[in-house]
């Protein structure tokens, strides 16, 4: 007995083999997701190091004086950051000031006031507003907003103060005010969508508790909803601020691009990102180093906002109770019978108040009506730009979009600066370029992002995981132009900007997508209940197989949604692509050559080419982008509702 080769021994050996193989497989899987997670931290470090390294000669030369100096003198090599810093802070601060009340109104309407039937379409419209590429907002601003502000609003404001501060100077419309307004318009949907989710997350019992106490709708919102939702709303505002700080192309199209610290709301100006995109590609030497120091400052500001917001929200959540000192109430005790005895007496003041309920109610209802009117007004203010944008795109680009050749032919090649008439062309190469770059980026970024998300959700419940999660949050908030700067300085030689290529742009887009997909995947995986995991583990599946087969499977649609939204963000990306992809109006022949894409095409139609036909083509491109966004957000909304959806968006 016990001889080698008996069936029992063979089976045991096979089982041991299988277990060892599974263990190796599990280790390998863990290593894979761990490496990707570490890569994200490395990416953040590399970004900071690259910017710092490039900025060293500028830091060396100008020291702290760089921050306060207002000169940008390329021939003499003297550079200072103050105009860009002042412009960035002023424009994004004003944008926040305009956007927050409107966004809160929209969120309150969508969550508390709107009739049920209106809520879903409104939510879709707001989400669409958050998805509209910034270049399309910028285009609309140039055509509609700037003339409107410059010829109607600004003269009125100047008249109001008699041309005094802050409304002094010529009213061109290409100024700080326009930049702030277009930024506000762009961040309202973001803030509104996230605030709405924060308000919706407040349990219905709390609203009913207030209503049951005799509160009007508005009073119930104030008493029971705003407080618990406040940290979420604060988070939404910070995200909006982050987006405003980093916004590049729309601002650069309307702010006037003059390097001066603004002295009036009608001043031309610059922000850090707008100055970067204007000068980066042509700069070299010390000027490039100074631009990289500006980039470093922008990174520092966005990190500081992110970290500051975390600390603030955490403190807030801890100490959110209204801290009234109420010791005085104890002095009333001796007059009262001990608990549980005695009968209810109604003090005279309370009897008086109770008797006056009905007449006081009239005043409370006026307050309610006022708030409701403000909220509806906010919705109108938020909807107008978006409606006008869609209308302009349809009117100006509709004829192009319905022409089949628009999708298959190239833009008219002879139409450069100064050419006034050229035939309507097409955007075939731009569509091709967009899809090729997105495809290249997505093939790498989506799997990497999902694996990284698996790390965060399944293996990252520890200190290292928190570090990775922190890096992901920071990276999501990093202005996209900085990724363009990063890829440009890492992969391309400064002196030959025809090294810009489809490949470089794909790398930049991939880097932008990974953290977004990671976050979405983590959230999606977190929605899978622990019982599902435990059920599979209890059957004897090893952990990595449970994760891949069971957990991933049960949040498929949320993963698809998250990936779609990340791809959508990348599809509309302009700043990073303009820096890395170069310009081309021809079909792709080489992935290492410059390439055209939809969003940069619109940017160039406004900045480089000026013929009216280019405008038509550009609006056509904008409309195509809008349609893609509309279809994708609709698909994303439907997929979370469908079977297997976990409602993670």
């Amino acid at each position: 007995m016990g001889v080698r080769g008996t069936p029992e021994v063979g089976r045991a050996a096979r089982r041991a083999d299988r277990l060892a193989r599974l263990r190796r497989e599990g280790l390998a899987f863990r290593l894979l997701v761990g490496v990707i997670a570490a890569g994200v931290v490395g990416l953040l470090a590399a970004l900071a190091a690259q910017l710092l390294g490039g900025a060293l000669s500028s830091i060396d030369r100008f020291g702290l004086g760089f921050l306060s100096s207002s000169t940008w003198d390329v021939p003499d090599g003297i550079f200072g950051a103050w105009p860009a810093i002042a412009g960035t802070l002023l424009v994004s601060g004003l944008a926040l000031l305009f956007a927050v009340p409107v966004a809160l109104g929209v969120a309150l309407f969508a969550s508390e006031i709107a009739p049920r039937r209106l809520r879903s379409p409104l939510a879709y419209f707001v989400d669409l507003g958050a998805a509209v590429p910034s270049i399309v907002y910028g285009f609309w601003a140039v055509i509609v907003l700037v003339p409107f502000l410059g010829t109607t609003v600004e003269p009125g404001l100047a008249h109001l103060t008699g041309g005094g501060a802050p409304f002094s100077g010529a009213t061109s419309g290409l100024d700080v005010l326009s930049a702030s307004v277009i930024l506000a318009i762009m961040i309202v949907p973001t803030i509104a969508a996230l605030s709405r989710e924060a308000l919706r997350a407040v349990p219905q019992e709390l609203r009913e508790g207030a209503l049951g106490l005799g509160a009007t709708r508005w009073e119930a919102t104030r008493l029971a909803v705003l407080g618990p939702a406040a940290p979420g709303i604060a988070g939404a505002v910070v995200l909006g601020l982050g987006r405003a700080i980093g916004e590049t192309v729309a601002v650069s199209l309307v702010i006037g691009n003059v390097y001066q610290a603004p002295t009036s709301l009608f001043s031309h100006g610059s922000t850090i990102p707008s100055w970067l995109i204007n000068g980066f590609v042509e700069s070299s030497g010390l000027a490039l180093s100074a631009l990289l120091e500006l980039s470093l400052l922008l990174l520092a500001i966005s990190v500081a906002i992110n970290v500051g917001a975390r600390l603030l929200v955490r403190r807030w959540e801890r100490a959110e109770v209204r801290g009234h000192r109420r010791r005085a109430a104890r002095r009333a005790v001796p007059a009262l019978a001990p608990s549980g005895t005695g009968s209810v007496t109604t003090p005279p003041w309370l009897a008086r108040v109770t008797a006056g309920r009905a007449s006081r109610l009239r005043r409370r209802k006026v307050v309610h009506a006022l708030v409701a009117a403000l909220v509806v007004g906010a919705v109108a203010l938020a909807v107008w730009p978006l409606a006008s944008l869609v209308e302009t795109a349809v009117v100006s680009g509709g004829s192009a979009v319905v022409t089949p050749s628009f999708y298959t032919s190239t833009p008219p090649p002879a139409c450069g600066i100064g050419v006034s008439h050229c035939p309507i062309g097409g955007i075939g190469p731009e569509i091709e370029g967009t899809f090729v770059m997105l495809g290249l980026a997505a093939v790498v970024a989506l799997p990497a992002g999902i694996l990284g998300g698996i790390y965060l959700s399944e293996y990252g419940r520890n200190r290292v995981g928190r570090l990775v999660g922190f890096a992901v949050d920071i990276l999501i908030g990093v202005p996209t132009i900085l990724f363009g700067v990063f890829v440009f300085t890492v992969f391309l030689r400064y002196d030959r900007w025809d090294d810009q290529s489809a490949f470089a742009a794909a790398v930049a887009l991939g880097v932008i997508m990974v953290p977004i997909v990671m976050k979405a995947a983590e959230l999606a995986l977190q929605t899978v209940p622990a019982s599902v995991r435990e059920g599979a583990l209890a059957l004897g599946f090893p952990r990595h197989r449970v994760t891949v087969r069971v957990v991933l499977g049960s949040c498929r649609s949320a993963l698809v949604t998250g990936s779609l939204l990340a791809v959508m963000r990348a599809a509309g990306e302009t700043a990073a692509v303009v820096l890395t992809a170069g310009e081309s109006i021809y079909w792709i022949s080489d992935l290492r050559a410059p390439v055209g894409a939809l969003a940069p095409f619109i940017f160039e139609a406004l900045t480089v080419y000026s013929s009216p036909n280019y405008r038509t083509d550009a609006w056509g491109a904008a409309l195509v982008l809008l349609l893609i966004m509309a279809v994708v957000s609709l698909a994303a909304r439907l997929s979370v509702r469908g079977p297997g959806g976990n409602g993670a968006v």
Binding site: G212, G227, A230, V321, L336, S339, L350, A358
Partner: protein, 250 residues
């Protein structure tokens, strides 16, 4: 006992689904009425109709007459209805961003009470009345949600009592509480009925028996039987009631 609240031919729907059918009940003044019945029989819906909270549910509506001391509640403003008819919910729901004091003061502030001494007195009296004063007198500034579950529920009762409602509705007020906290709330109920008209929904028959003077038995959205609690439990007239109170279904 005189009748405080007359309910006449009350029908309620959620969308197309009818939840209550022609409910006609008299609720007596200064007495506790228990509403019993199996899950889904409409007892919570009935309660939520009494302060018109039912109509806040999307797609929900109700018809019928509610007469509080002869005043038609459907003709009155809904805010005033809820001032007169207070409510305590199944799950304690103190406002999470308010202190114990502010939770109780919330209703008074809505009514326009601003003076410090009046608020202090009103809050203290309500807390005394809810039997919570001794336990929380030192932590009036603490978050309402930092109290234990039973204390939170009594805080919610104090919050409702502070504005002196005439009727107090309670929707399974003890179902989220442990036995000791339940006893405290039950004792409190026994005191409250000397001052208020109390209506309690409960799925706990023993509790209904202990705390109520009258009992209404609901089944499939209809009132099967109404009567003094003792009689309804010991000698029900309806076969259905007898089966239910003897635990033969539900």
């Amino acid at each position: 006992m005189p009748v405080k609240l007359e309910v006449r031919e009350l029908n309620a729907w959620y969308g197309d689904r009818q939840a209550l059918y022609d409910v006609t009940v008299d609720l007596e003044d200064r007495a506790t009425t228990a509403i019993i019945g199996p899950s889904g029989c409409g007892k919570s819906t009935f309660l939520r109709c009494l302060n018109r909270l039912h109509e806040e549910t999307p797609g929900a509506r109700a018809t019928g007459r509610l007469l509080l001391d002869g005043d038609d509640l459907n003709a009155s403003d809904v805010v005033l209805v809820r001032c007169r008819v207070g409510m305590v919910f199944q799950k304690p729901n103190p406002f999470p961003n308010m202190s114990v004091f502010e939770n109780v003061a919330a209703g008074l502030r809505l009514l326009g009470v601003r003076r410090r001494d009046e608020l202090d007195q009103g809050v203290a009296e309500a807390l005394v009345h809810a039997g919570l004063w001794e336990e929380v007198a030192d932590q009036l500034d603490a978050p309402g949600t930092s109290l234990s579950g039973g204390q939170q529920q009594r805080l919610c009762i104090a919050r409702a009592l502070a504005v002196r409602p005439e009727v107090l509705l309670m929707d399974e007020p003890c179902s989220a509480l442990d036995p000791i906290a339940t006893t405290k709330v039950e004792n409190l109920l026994a005191r409250l009925k000397t001052e208020y008209t109390v209506v309690v929904v409960t799925h706990n028959l023993a509790q209904a028996h202990r705390i109520s003077d009258r009992t209404v038995f609901f089944y499939l959205g209809k009132v099967v039987e109404v009567g003094p609690t003792e009689r309804l439990f010991s000698a029900p007239t309806e076969k259905l009631t007898e089966n239910y109170v003897n635990g033969r279904f539900g």
